[in-house]
Structures are given as C-alpha cells and as structure tokens.
C-alpha cells in the first residue's frame, strides 16, 4: 500500500492522536492513540514519544497506541531495575487498556523493551517489529549529553531536511531519562548471551528494521536477531539512519504495515503488476 506522505501535515501530527492514560501502580501510563484496526502498540526510543509520519501512515491501517514508557515525561522511574521488569509493567499497562493481543513495535531503547516483552509474553503478541533495537549493541556509539549537536543529528538522520526535523535532546529531560535508560541498558553486555538464548526460543513472528546508515547502533546488529530467532526477518532501509521512521517514513510504514498485515506473505507482492489489460 502506497499513499502519498504529502497528504499528512507534519505540523499537526500530534493532533491525529488522542491522549489517554491508564494506571499501573505506581505510574500513570500515558498513551496516544489513532486509527482503527488491529492494535499496534508502539514503544518509543530514549528520546521519549515522538509523532512521525510513519506512525500516522500506520494509523491508516491499524489502531496505533503510542505508549509513554514509565520514566519518561514528568515521571521518575526508580521502580524498574531491568528491561524485563519494565517490559512486564508495559504488558500490564496494555492489558489494563483492554487490549488482549496486539502487534508490538519498539524503537531503539523501546525495541530492547519490546524484545523482552516478547520473551515473557509471546502469547499476547500478534507480531513484533524491532526498529533499530538497542538490545544487542555490538560496536554501538550511544548518544551522550555532551555529544556535538550536528554530529549527533547526522547519526540519527541521513535525510535531515525531511520534516519533522531532528530535535536536539532537551538537557532537562536528559538529566532524568538518560540515567534511567543507561541503568537498564548498560547493565547488559553489548551482546547478552542470556537474552540471546531466550530469543532462540521466542517464536513470535518478528521483523527487524535497521537504517543502513544507522550511526548509533550499527545495522550489523540486525543479523543477530535474524540468526538466533526462529521466526525473524531482517530489512535494511536504504538511505536511513537511526531514526528511520523520520528519514524514510513511507518506506518504513510500507514494509512494517505489510509485515503486520500479511506476515511472511509480505515476501510476495500481491499488488497487480499489470500495466494495462
């Protein structure tokens, strides 16, 4: 399915999503929902929830529910000490929304959480999309509060002119969120053999997407998932960096939407190639 992204006004992306919240003690988990169809729960990266053209396009096919992970926004998260604990809390939050089974899309840090959720609750997932996931980070160069802004932008975005443009991290938010992210991620080896073993037994249908110019997590990390997970596809998005949803939103939403809708049948095109009858 290909729609013209120009239909989507980037200045009003947030308006497309309806805010809501659910209580998972001790947190009030906020979420932003748009669209109809099978639920697609979205876990954001370390920068917090972001509205993208890609998500707006996916909301034309699915009920997109973008969760704000506890520890982001105004809330400090001293409760969860591991990715697994956080993943469990998110699974509870989604269940509290009345969503029993859903597609799950996790970006970067959110991808690491999503993978843990898939390991713990495979029966709840229709399928899993890991967008530049940070679970395995072999040779990764994580962003730091003192990173040079232009260099950081280039590592996130290969197509910096594409709207919405890259937002530099907000120092006040960083002060709260990055230690939390670092605590959960840096406590794991860049290649965590324990979690790799668990993923070997995770048969959730999974798509791993990496921008081929990802400057944060080398896209070669994508091979790990493809190799060890029994039901996993790997796609490189050409001309995209770490924020692939923003660099190439049409391509991202096409391949992800196809995978969610058609599963492995996304390997064969179903659109007619007839020029004229």
């Amino acid at each position: 399915m290909t729609t013209n992204a120009d239909d989507i006004d980037v200045t009003t992306l947030a308006d497309r999503f309806t805010p809501g919240s659910v209580v998972v003690d001790p947190f009030v988990v906020e979420y932003f929902a748009a669209g109809d169809g099978d639920p697609l729960v979205v876990l954001h990266g370390a920068g917090g929830p972001e509205f993208s053209i890609a998500l707006a396009r996916l909301a034309q096919r699915f009920r997109v529910v973008l969760l704000q992970i506890p520890g982001f926004g105004d809330q400090v998260n001293d409760v969860h000490q591991s990715l697994e604990e956080l993943a469990d809390a998110i699974a509870h939050a989604v269940a509290a929304m009345g969503i029993e089974r859903y597609h799950l899309l996790g970006t970067s840090f959110g991808g690491a959480v999503a993978a843990c959720l898939a390991i713990a609750h495979p029966d709840r997932l229709l399928s899993l999309v890991l967008d530049a996931p940070a679970l395995f980070r072999v040779d990764a160069v994580p962003p730091a509060p003192d990173s040079d802004p232009s260099e950081l932008a280039a590592r996130f975005r290969a197509n910096p002119d594409r709207e919405p443009r890259f937002s530099q991290p907000v120092p006040t938010a960083n002060a709260q969120q990055w230690p939390f992210v670092e605590k959960l991620l840096s406590s794991r080896a860049e290649y965590d053999t324990g979690i790799a073993e668990k993923l070997q037994n995770c048969s959730v249908r999974t798509l791993v997407v990496f921008g081929d110019r990802d400057g944060i997590i080398p896209p070669s990390n994508g091979r790990i998932y493809r190799r060890i997970m029994p039901n996993c596809a790997l796609i490189y998005l050409y001309g995209a960096a770490h924020a692939a949803q923003f660099d190439r939103p049409e391509a991202f939403s096409d391949v992800v939407g196809d995978f969610l809708e058609r599963g492995w049948e996304f390997l064969i095109p179903h659109e007619s190639t007839m020029i004229n009858p």
Partner: protein, 380 residues
C-alpha cells in the same frame, strides 16, 4: 533416443545438509564452493566423454542444491571447456526477469557457443517467487507474455516497441542476435495441459519433469494437438523427459547407494524450516497453479509433479527397461538424467562412477533404441 544430463552443480560441504531455505550465506565455505564448482564441471565433462548428447544447467536460487542462480555464466564457461558440446540452459525462471535482457543474454551466449545452445523458459519453483518480489498470482500471464516477447525479440528485424499487459518497452533491438536462426530451440514446460498447449502453439520443444509417464501422455497429446492447430508436427526429438536416474553395476549396489544418502531427496530442502515461510511457499505454489488469492487450495488438484517420485535407479539393464516403459507411454526422443539428486544425496565419486558406467552401457543402448529426429528434420 538422445540422452542428456542436467547437473544442478550441487554444493558439496557441511551446509548442504542444512534443512532450510533460503540458506544463510554465512554457511557458505569458500573452499567448498570452489571445489563444488569444479566438481560440477567435472561431472559435465565426464558426461561429455560418456557420450551424453547435451549438457544442461538450470536456474535456482538461495540453495545448496544448485550453485547456478545465473546458469548462463556457467554455460559460457562450459562452452569454452568443451568446444564441441551441445549446451542447454533448461532453464530460466522467466517471470523473475526482464524478458528483453533474457533474450539479450541468450543471444550473446549463442554467439559465444557458435550455435550450440538450447534454452528453456520456465516459471520457476514456488520458493523462487520469494526471491525477487514476483507476484505469483500473475505468474502464468506474465510468463506467457514474456515468452512471446522473447520470441519477438529474436525474430523482429527492425527496432520495435512492445506495449504488453505486463511489459512495456518502447525501444527494443536485439543486437547481437542469435547465431541459430531465427533463434535457438526453446523448451517450455509440459507439466500441465495449458503449458503444453502453449509450447505447441509457439513451436517450442516440450520439457516434462518428473511426471508419471501415464500422466505425461495427456500433456503430450495436448502439445501435439496445439502444434497441429499451429500448422506443425512435433517429432519425438521435440519432447524431453527429465528424471532422476542412478545406475550402479548391480541392482543391489544401486539400492545400497540410494539408501545411503536418501537419494534423490538427500538432506536438503527446497522449502523453509520455518513453517510460516513454508506456508507462504505453498501459497505461491497454489497461486502459480491458478488458485486465487485468499482461496485455500484443493491439494487433490495439485499437479502430479513431485521431484524424486518415480526416479529410476538400478543396474543398467533395470534402468534401461524403466526408460523403455516410460517411452512406450510418452513418445519422447530425448531423456534427461539428473544423477546427483537434490543435494547431499550422492557422493561426487559415485556420481562420476555412475556417469562412466552409463557411458559404457545405457547411453549407447539408448542411442541405439529409437533414433530420434535430427534438428534438421525437425526444422524441415
């Protein structure tokens, strides 16, 4: 009768027994790869010495079963090694490719081989629709238009355009053209009545793969009927019958060799170890057979073409009589042997010994059986 060999160019290495498709490239061992290619050449060269009438290759993808995803390259090299051998590429998975480029490649190859080329245009196996992003539901229509476009490329003396249903080229000129005029002999599949009729209508050869002879006789009848409607009369030489064949000195020895590595299936798969992917391959197969999208296929109507089924193995005498039985039902003038099996099904040494033994026994016996029409008779 003519006797041809189809060598898939198996990969001989540890990965050959990996039960998966597509096979991950990390499993490819470079030394094994180079030696496997050398073995493929050795098998074909041995077959040439043994008197086989044509040395044939085919296109398949992402598998240890065949190291010829681009068989035209292999055919060109083989032609250099064996300057007097007839070479067949049987064939190209046409719906996966640009037909004009396919015609160009075969035209160049025919020039390189000095007119020793035959080729087949096929629709490929279902898994191959999961390679280049080809719509399997349109497979037949795309294929038929592609075949006609290729024939047009070879026969049109002036630059021309093609405004098809599936292909649009506004400027085509096949230069170089083929040495063999109007074009090398083209084989189309005879594994269904509709494809056999297409071959007859377009004046092409008919290739039957692995079908029970009693079933194949119906498609051959359809082929002959369509040819007659088109104003020509196929000879047995226009009909090729492909089967897995293994010969050893005695029936007992052949049976032991076959049992050892589960010949011809061997250890590899042309399907996926992931059941969800395997199901999609099944969907592609059903789509190729004309089952509409979203409709569950009726497997009782699946074509009776199962590779490995009905394969011929035994002593030369036993195999010869099996071929004669098939020939009595299907009046083919060319029989094509696949000796290796799929993958990891027979050692290279035993394949070489079988080829040598065939050259001493069954090849001359089949040559003496029912002389088939020559190319000149067919063209006349």
């Amino acid at each position: 009768m003519k006797v041809e060999i189809f060598t898939p160019v198996n990969y001989y290495g540890e990965a050959a027994s990996a039960p998966d498709w597509p096979l991950p490239p990390r499993l490819f061992d470079q030394e094994d790869g180079v030696s496997s290619i050398a073995r493929g050449f050795a098998q074909l060269e041995a077959a040439h010495r043994a008197g086989f009438d044509s040395l044939n290759l085919a296109e398949h993808h992402y598998s240890a079963a065949q190291m010829t995803p681009a068989p035209i390259i292999f055919a060109a090299a083989l032609g250099e090694r064996l300057p007097d051998a007839q070479i067949g590429v049987l064939g190209t998975d046409l719906p996966l490719h640009n037909p004009v480029n396919v015609a160009e490649q075969y035209a160049v190859l025919d020039n390189m081989l000095g007119g020793r080329l035959r080729f087949a245009l096929l629709r490929g196996t279902p898994n191959e629709y999961l390679t280049y992003g080809t719509n399997p539901w349109e497979s037949r229509e795309r294929f038929e238009e592609g075949v006609e476009l290729i024939v047009r490329c070879f026969t049109e003396p002036e630059p021309f355009g093609w405004e098809g249903k599936y292909y649009r080229f506004r400027n085509i000129a096949l230069f170089p053209s083929a040495v063999q005029q109007p074009h090398p002999r083209i084989t189309l599949s005879g594994n269904s009545v509709s494809s056999a009729r297409l071959a007859g209508r377009l004046g092409c050869d008919l290739g039957i793969s692995f079908m029970p002879p009693e079933v194949a006789s119906a498609t051959v009848a359809a082929y002959r009927e369509a040819a007659e409607e088109a104003g020509w009369q196929p000879t047995p030489d226009n009909i090729l019958f492909r089967q897995f064949v293994y010969v050893a000195e005695t029936d007992a020895e052949a049976a032991a060799d076959v049992a050892l590595q589960n010949w011809p299936q061997g250890g590899g798969l042309s399907s996926s170890g992931n059941p969800e992917v395997a199901a999609v391959i099944g969907t592609a197969g059903a789509a190729m057979a004309g089952v509409p999208r979203g409709v569950k296929p009726d497997m009782s109507k699946a074509p009776a073409m199962v590779p490995g089924m009905g394969s011929w193995s035994g002593s030369p005498t036993t195999v010869h009589s099996k071929i004669q039985e098939a020939h009595d039902l299907v009046d083919f003038g060319r029989v094509e042997f696949i000796i290796t099996g799929f993958v990891d099904a027979m050692s290279h040494e035993k394949v070489m010994r079988s080829i040598e033994l065939m050259g001493e026994t069954i090849v001359p016996a089949l040559h003496a059986d029912s002389p088939s029409a020559t190319d000149s008779e067919r063209n006349a």
